[in-house]
């Protein structure tokens, strides 16, 4: 039984917050304009919290309800993935990459498989490229449903209907992906040179049926919140990311597109068959919380458009290179490579250093959530604590990627 009546000893992050308070008081910032004096309190929005979407800890320095400073503490889900890469062969590592951003597993696998293919010089087959795009875009829709659903559920306690509708539709997508790959969440579907299974019989018709119904569903979700005055007041004008911030803090994905910067890797550094597909890059102007929500809703529609085009253009052929002896144990020549692909959260890249053996020498993730989280203290300063929940929900953080 832990000693719950002992005086708690502050750990490094809390001590840092307390030091900063002491420094600001010594520097003379001890009173506000009415001369009432600050009374700064350090509050721990601990690793277990209903609104932080995972085990993120925020050490918040509050003055009343205004946030003076935020120190994010991460590492509560650090699962040593970069070290495990050195103990697993390239092929054995694919299921572990799945669990990086567990809501968008197909995209994460694609980022890793693309880098290994570049190192080893393997070209995937054409049918596999289309199936990869279909799987990745369906997973993008599912990921945005989770992101927007939990974001709206945080703004109102779970009594909101929107998240129930979104998870209902997510189940339809997960059924499609399950019949494709065998699993509901961590798919283990991508292989070097293609994908593991071909489309089952009747899958294309089921997918088309879902896509026909999907735009009406998105309209339904929007109609639930877009005229809600409380939602609009809580989201408009809050947490603005400027264009200069996007460059300084290397923000990518919907968070950057909401500020008007057209950074979409499917257009700026196209990979796979995206040059042949016709879709729009969804942008918004202001960069506040509402714009990030709106960009994700628009992207769901665009992804549905992409999947429909791919289903129409799907060629015949094998789905994996080397159908008699698929590449299971590969030994890429020594060298290093970095490739990135457009995750639902931003630019997800993998940097692999190979030394000619069956195991990677060094694997480094460029994880979008880790990088997007750095701007958090800047966004929260001067806002109320309730806005912290709205802003963190709109940034769409997945701790599996932040902590790896």
């Amino acid at each position: 039984m832990s000693d719950q009546f002992a005086t708690p000893v502050p750990d490094a992050a809390t001590q840092l917050a307390l030091d900063r308070i002491r420094q600001s008081e010594e520097a003379g910032h001890g009173s506000d304009m009415a001369g009432l004096g600050f009374n700064q309190v350090v509050v721990n929005m601990g690793p277990q919290h209903p609104s932080t979407h995972g085990v993120l800890r925020l050490v918040v320095t509050l003055d009343g309800e205004m946030v003076r400073d935020v120190i994010p503490v991460i590492g509560y889900l650090h699962r040593c993935k970069e070290k495990l890469a050195e103990k697993r062969t390239y092929f054995q590592y694919i299921p572990i990459v799945d669990r990086t951003e567990y809501v968008a597993s197909m995209n994460c696998e694609w980022g890793y498989v693309m880098t290994v293919e570049k190192l080893a010089g393997i070209e995937p087959t054409r049918r596999a490229e289309f199936i990869r795009v279909i799987a990745a875009e369906l997973n993008r829709i599912a990921s945005h449903l989770v992101a927007v659903g939990t974001f709206v559920a945080d703004l109102a306690p779970l009594g909101t209907a929107m998240v129930f509708y979104m998870f209902r539709d997510r189940e339809i997508i997960l059924d499609l992906l399950e019949s494709l790959s065998g699993a509901r969440m961590m798919f283990n579907y991508f292989r070097f040179g293609g994908v593991r299974y071909d489309l089952p019989d009747g899958w294309v018709e089921q997918c088309r049926d879902f896509l026909d119904r999907f735009p009406k569903m998105v309209d339904e979700y929007e109609a639930l919140v877009k005229t809600n005055a409380i939602f609009l007041q809580r989201t408009m004008g809050k947490g603005v990311i400027t264009r200069q911030d996007v460059a300084d803090y290397a923000i990518t994905g919907p968070n950057a597109r909401a500020s008007g910067v057209a950074t979409d890797l499917r257009r700026t550094r196209p990979y796979s068959v995206y040059p042949e597909l016709d879709f729009n890059v969804c942008l918004a102007e202001h960069g506040d919380v509402f714009d990030r929500y709106q960009v994700r809703i628009d992207e769901m529609r665009e992804s549905a458009k992409i999947v429909r085009q791919c289903l129409d253009m799907l060629p015949r052929g094998p789905v994996q290179v080397g159908s008699l002896r698929p590449p299971y144990v590969i030994t890429p020549p020594p060298g290093s490579a970095y490739t990135a692909q457009e995750n639902p959260r931003g630019e997800y890249g993998t940097y692999i250093v190979a030394d000619g053996s069956r195991y990677p020498y060094r694997l480094k993730y460029r994880d979008p959530c880790f990088i997007n989280l750095q701007i958090f203290p800047k966004l929260l300063r001067g806002n109320k604590i309730a806005d912290a929940v709205a802003i963190s929900g709109s940034m769409d953080l997945v701790l599996g990627g932040i902590d790896r």
């Binding site: 039984m1 832990s2 719950q4 601990g46 690793p47 277990q48 919290h49 209903p50 995972g54 085990v55 590492g75 509560y76 889900l77 650090h78 699962r79 040593c80 993935k81 070290k83 495990l84 103990k87 299921p95 572990i96 669990r99 567990y102 809501v103 989770v146 998240v163 129930f164 998870f167 209902r168 997510r170 189940e171 509901r184 969440m185 961590m186 701790l399 599996g400």
Partner: protein, 205 residues
């Protein structure tokens, strides 16, 4: 006070009210009380969502419309441990998180149960040889039900919840056969009778 004070003393002296201390072994009153209390406890468990990683998303899915955990009475997911009975540890526990896990477990009120959901919480899972990973939350808190899977489907989570309901329904006010251990103590003891019986049997011989 109450009825006993208003009765004439001749009658009051002969009335015997049953007390729990009088029960040396289970009888119809205690087993009926067991049945009612454990039925109530097992069918309205308040889970504590300790969703750490990927299994948390499956736990979340099991709470929503398609796999409805409300039909088992467990839809009241409370974010604070003070109001919960059941801690579902869903995800990998690592060295940084383990003290937090222990503290939250200590903050729950008795009676409390722990389900370890997923391969990571059971034994470390796919990350078993990581330097920072605790191989199973049963090194930190006592676990009642283990649910394997990576991630376990919501149906698997429900099977685990049904097993937990069976565990809860074994709680008794008066455990059977407490001859050597003295008078039956009030309060809920799930002391297995098997632990007491060999000593009793050895004493008899």
């Amino acid at each position: 006070m109450g009825l006993r004070d208003n009765l004439p003393p001749a009658i009051a002296g002969r009335l015997k009210y049953p007390k729990l201390e009088h029960f040396q072994q289970p009888n119809v009153i205690t087993t009926t009380a067991d049945f009612i209390f454990s039925w109530a406890r097992s069918h309205s468990v308040f889970p504590f969502t300790y969703g750490l990683a990927c299994c948390a998303i499956e736990m979340l899915s099991s709470g929503f419309a398609r796999f409805d955990v409300a039909r088992y009475g467990m839809e009241v997911f409370r974010p604070t441990p003070r109001q919960c009975d059941l801690m579902i540890v869903a995800g990998t526990c690592n060295e940084k998180m383990a003290p937090v896990l222990k503290r939250l477990y200590d903050q729950m009120a008795e009676p409390k149960w722990v389900i370890s959901m997923g391969a990571c919480a059971t034994s470390g899972g796919p990350f078993y040889d990581g330097y920072n990973v605790v191989n199973g939350v049963d090194k930190v808190v006592p676990v009642d039900v283990y649910i394997p899977g990576c991630p376990p489907r919501p149906e698997a989570l429900f099977q685990g919840l049904l097993e937990l309901q069976k565990v809860i329904q074994q709680m008794k006010f008066v455990p059977p056969k407490l001859e050597k251990a003295g008078a039956g103590e009030p309060g809920v003891e799930t002391a297995p009778a098997a632990a007491v019986q060999p000593a009793a049997a050895a004493g008899e011989r």
